[in-house]
Point group: C2
């Protein structure tokens, strides 16, 4: 640890008052100018601009927020950061999509990370306390405290995904059942007979629905013994599940993994077991994340429009803030199948 120089004198922030005195006008005039209400003489405008530069004035966001009763900021609430920011490749894209949409509307996205009980409580306070005008919530689970808070606060909100207790709040998502059904069918169409699934996150709708779609696609051929259940969508879970599956059913010739990361793990396990993909076993994933193309062979998968989800959620919140969208809506985005070499 190295010390470098001494700290500078802490100068006090300039206020409208200072600018007013300096420019010889009233604070009202300054405010009007800054907020573009027109009706400011060229003369006054000039003097104010000079004064602002001279005293180094920057309006106080806080004071402005208080009087306007709005912040022009929208929260982006993320849960379980460990599982998400570090493992889920979608979260970053969703965040980017949301930021883009908000930026276009000149709103500030403030991302709030909930990593503990304590965080949940504090984030709740900020949310209800008017720190933001609305928020996007990703990966809420059932009975999520955040869900309760935004409902109680009647805050404009859009969820990404739909926990069962959303009631009358808006959400955006994809049709997990249909997507899983489709890709499973495609896999079956390659002539596989013993198709397994690596299912994950069954306590969330995404996980449960993908399993449901898989089951639906198999119909009579569904064999519960060919479903490996794991906790997370992670690579290591995929390795473990596939190893177990090979053990249980050595004749397996097809696998639908509930995420690309899981599929990549499965690939690794298959490789270790000496199986060739796609010759011996066909593998398909879900997400079309970076995993899909970095695997060997590249994964056939379902494209999850992550950025689009973020954008749509943000737009929904903005519409609610603007008072346009009155009724809660459920927005489903398309999920094209991307067919590559793994099946």
């Amino acid at each position: 640890m190295t010390l470098v120089t001494a700290s500078p004198l802490p100068r006090k922030r300039a206020t409208v008052h200072d600018v007013a005195r300096e420019a010889g006008v009233s604070r009202g005039t300054i405010s009007r100018m800054l907020n573009g209400d027109g009706y400011v003489s060229a003369d006054a405008r000039e003097r104010i601009e000079a004064a602002i530069r001279k005293v180094g004035y920057v309006p106080s966001t806080t004071a402005r927020n208080l009087v306007r009763q709005r912040t022009n900021a929208v929260g982006f609430v993320v849960h379980e950061p460990h599982a998400l920011f570090l493992e889920d490749p979608n979260i970053g894209a969703i965040l980017l999509g949301a930021n883009e949409a908000l930026s276009e509307a000149d709103h500030q996205m403030v991302c709030l990370v909930v990593g503990s009980e304590r965080d949940a409580e504090r984030v709740g306070r900020y949310l209800r306390g008017g720190f933001v005008d609305g928020c996007v919530v990703v990966s809420a689970r059932e009975h999520d405290p955040i869900t309760a808070v935004v409902r109680a606060a009647q805050l404009p909100v859009a969820f990404v995904g739909h926990p069962p207790d959303l009631q009358d709040m808006s959400w955006v998502g994809i049709d997990n059942v249909a997507s899983a059904h489709e890709i499973t069918s495609r896999l079956l169409a390659t002539g596989r007979h013993r198709v397994a699934m690596i299912a994950a996150a069954l306590d969330r709708d995404s996980g449960a629905d993908r399993l449901a779609g898989f089951r639906q696609a198999l119909g009579d051929r569904f064999d519960a013994g060919l479903v490996a259940r794991v906790e997370h969508y992670a690579y290591s879970d995929g390795v473990r599940a596939m190893t177990e599956l090979l053990d249980r059913a050595p004749d397996v010739d097809g696998v639908f993994a509930a995420s690309d990361a899981l599929a990549a793990g499965a690939l690794e396990a298959l490789l270790r077991a000496g199986r060739r993909v796609p010759q011996d076993v066909g593998v398909v994933g879900f997400d079309d994340s970076a995993w899909a193309t970095r695997c060997t062979p590249p994964l056939s998968t379902v494209r999850q429009p992550a950025e689009g989800l973020g954008r749509a959620a943000a737009r929904s919140v903005l519409a609610q803030i603007a008072g346009e969208q009155r009724a809660p809506a459920a927005i489903l985005l398309d999920t094209p199948v991307v067919w590559r070499a793994s099946a």
Copy 2:
């Protein structure tokens, strides 16, 4: 898109005033109670609590921030989100570390993403406008507008990494030169003679320093022809660079990649070229990210204490806010070498 139900009536928020009237006490008493200054009779306390519940009172963060002249929130500013949130595995861990430290101090972390000019301008406004009490900045480049803003605002700040124009602001980081030197030496010690490097992000200190350390370790044996330069720390860059390197110098028997993602890409290219790792070519990476263990063979690498960086940065900011740490400091964290099977 499905419409669900009608929206509820927008009730107005209760204020201290309402609670005061309801409980028959003055607003001062309520404030004292809420802010734990003691000195509130059991009787008053009870009536206030009841009143709060009854009118559904939640203090306004905004109003409180204004009068207190502090928000108890710290910004976490991220640049170039595409490169970072989607590619850099460290950013998530840094964010988590920072959040953890802030949470312990009961401060709210608000993550602000700068994805465009417009974002930079807006984030600058929020930062200077007192939206947060201080901030952590990751991945600032030279002449970064954010750097200028925090300097001008004299905002308590800690950078993760150190762009050259930091002047007297605090930062936390690692010794990239020494780390690169060490792992290169270890690689050489395995008996390699033609050791190449895949260098990236040479416009940032991390990238340039890793190259410098590599060069230093090689001394006389340094051969500029064995350095492949790429833009990003990404997997695909690694594949490309390694392919090129094999082309240029087929006798290469060792590679130091400036990140694990690059190393993973290199592994892929080597595999394709029919080289065995570590028998024919030894490969080492940097970061000790998830890449390192998910590769085959797992990577020998340098552990970058990402969470620790986030925590340290956050602590530094907190100390500055508390007025403890007056002088700017440079904090370097340790980077142990993690030796696995790839070299």
